[in-house]
């Protein structure tokens, strides 16, 4: 408990130090460097030829699809990690696990603990449903050629 509080304070301290550091680096460069700019120097680099149009134009939609699929899978990973710690406890130390489950008295889990419904089997079934839905989506995406880039 005590060390936990220390931990988050230190993350804050690190963010502050990092912020100061990067700002100072940019500002030092800004004030120390010469200023001899011009239209040609500031023009966009395009292998030496005159610039054709803007770079802000439409791009391949596949990049967008990959970003969307990433969201689904990353949320999956983020959910699976805490699940994994619980599952480890439920399989290796069942007594400790039931104590952990009882600490969340305000949630529906408490009622299920009392009925003896929460155990490693329960956790495995929830995982199976979760991964199953995700896998169906994954196979559908694969069949639709989302991952084919050539």
């Amino acid at each position: 408990m005590v060390f936990l509080a220390t931990g988050y304070q230190m993350v804050g301290v690190l963010i502050a130090i990092t912020l100061v550091m990067v700002v100072v680096m940019v500002l030092l460069n800004h004030f120390l460097s010469p200023k001899r700019t011009g239209a040609i120097k500031e023009s966009t680099y395009e292998s030496g030829v005159p610039v054709v149009g803007s770079a802000r134009r439409r791009f391949n939609v596949k990049f967008y699809i990959v970003a969307m699929i990433f969201l689904l899978f990353d949320v999956e990973v983020v959910i699976l990690w805490p699940w994994a710690t619980l599952f480890h406890q439920a399989t290796t130390q069942p007594e400790q696990f039931s104590k952990t489950a009882m600490t969340v008295q305000d949630s529906p889990v408490w009622a299920m603990v009392q009925q003896g419904a929460v155990g490693k089997e329960f956790l495995l079934i929830t995982l199976a449903i979760f991964i199953g839905v995700l896998l169906i989506g994954f196979i559908y995406e694969w069949k639709r050629g989302v991952f084919r880039w050539s």
Partner: protein
């Protein structure tokens, strides 16, 4: 009780701040000398000398580079989005630094007259691993913003590629770490390291690499891709995109992308060392050392392990050719993702049936790879290599007019 807590609180807090003030300069020096080391290793692999003018053996080269970057002219392309153009390198470097907070650098230190040992770690978060994953996922912002704000076509395509690549490899990375989370039941890095300090048969350390080698290979591949290192440096490949997302950057802002990349490499290496190679654990010692000299020894061992990883990164850069973009995405989504998911599910099944964590883990990993290879060859699943929908090599239209 309260007094004791207050004293305890301030002691660890003070120690963490001192540690932070040591770690940041140490890592920045390490980053500087990584650039020097990168050039030296490249030179050795190509039978050259590398930098050897500034100072003995060129050892002052990073200092000279730093001064040069500070004094170079700092200008912006006219078409750039000015706030985002300045923000991008700051994000790229700042976010890479944030990962340093949860790395356990040297176990715990027990000074005389203190009830509890001090953690040699800046921030002991309960969700250390989740924090690292979150910070790693943020790393994509710097690159994307740089690519978009420059208003340069090369930079734009580089940024897009980097976004797709870093985002895709985040998933197998998380799933391969899930194997360790499942097997150890911990989200705290220091506890995961502690579990690896025992010995088998009195000499072999119980590092996770011996139980989960395939997960380690997947994680290593993903870290390479996350840090945009060769062979995954499509975001900045010179032959296609000039400089990629940092084409329009110069002076200190360019250097900050560079520093960010190397910081990312150091954090990623430390992450892998902690998960698979016992972190600060000294091979041959069964117990944690809490004396001052013991902690210093553990710090040195941690540093040595990280350095070995950094060297391997550079070695790979000059050994493997770069991927093509479709190969890159195929390797991630059709290769690494199913395999890493299967590896995690195998550990789930082993846990469910209370299989002890021993050679069965290794057998499970090898079994998954074997099944994957058999499935790929039986069903001709296009994972890597030449694709079935491309014309046969023998039936291509021959070149006319040239001499063969």
């Amino acid at each position: 009780m309260v007094d004791w807590l207050v004293i305890q609180f301030h002691t660890q807090l003070g120690f963490s701040i001192v540690l932070l003030l040591v770690v940041i300069p140490a890592v920045l020096t390490g980053v500087g000398y990584s650039t020097y080391f990168e050039r030296k290793v490249s030179a050795w692999l190509q039978d050259r000398h590398g930098p050897n003018r500034a100072g003995p053996l060129g050892l002052l080269q990073p200092v000279a580079d730093g001064v040069k970057f500070l004094l170079k002219e700092d200008f912006m392309p006219a078409g750039a989005d000015r706030p985002l153009y300045i923000l991008a390198p700051m994000l790229s470097m700042g976010i890479a630094m944030l990962g340093l907070a949860v790395i356990p650098w040297g176990g715990s230190y027990q000074p005389a007259g203190l009830a509890e040992p001090l953690q040699v770690q800046v921030a002991g978060l309960d969700i250390g691993l989740l924090y690292l994953l979150a910070v790693g996922a943020l790393g994509v912002y710097g690159v994307v913003l740089a690519g978009w704000s420059s208003n340069n076509k090369y930079a734009f395509y580089g940024g897009l590629r980097a976004a797709a690549q870093m985002v895709s490899y985040e998933i197998p990375l998380g799933l391969s770490i899930l194997v360790i989370v499942l097997a150890s039941g911990q989200l705290r890095l220091e506890n995961i390291v502690e579990q690896q300090t025992a010995l088998w048969w009195g000499f072999l350390p119980q590092w996770n690499i011996f139980l989960h080698p395939v997960s380690f290979i997947i994680m290593f591949t993903c870290v390479l891709a996350e840090t945009n290192r060769a062979p995954f440096d499509l975001a900045e490949c010179e032959q296609e995109l000039v400089g990629g997302f940092h084409t329009e950057y110069n002076a200190m802002k360019w250097a900050m992308f560079f520093l960010g990349e190397y910081t990312h490499m150091i954090v990623g290496s430390a992450f892998m060392v902690c998960l698979f190679f016992g972190g600060w654990h000294v091979p041959g010692l069964a117990a944690e050392q809490t004396t001052l000299w013991g902690v210093l020894l553990q710090l040195a061992v941690m540093g040595a392990k990280i350095s070995i990883f950094i060297f391997v990164f550079m070695w790979i850069r000059w050994t493997l050719p770069r991927f093509r973009f479709d190969q890159l995405m195929r390797l991630c989504w059709k290769g690494l993702l199913p395999v890493s998911l299967a590896l995690a599910l195998v550990v789930v099944v082993e846990l469910f049936f209370n299989v002890p964590r021993s050679y069965w883990s290794l057998i499970g990993e090898v079994g998954v790879v074997a099944v994957a290879l058999v499935a790929v060859s039986l069903f001709r699943i296009p994972v890597t290599g030449r694709q079935w929908y491309l014309p046969d090599l023998d039936n291509r239209t021959p070149l006319r007019g040239g001499s063969v």
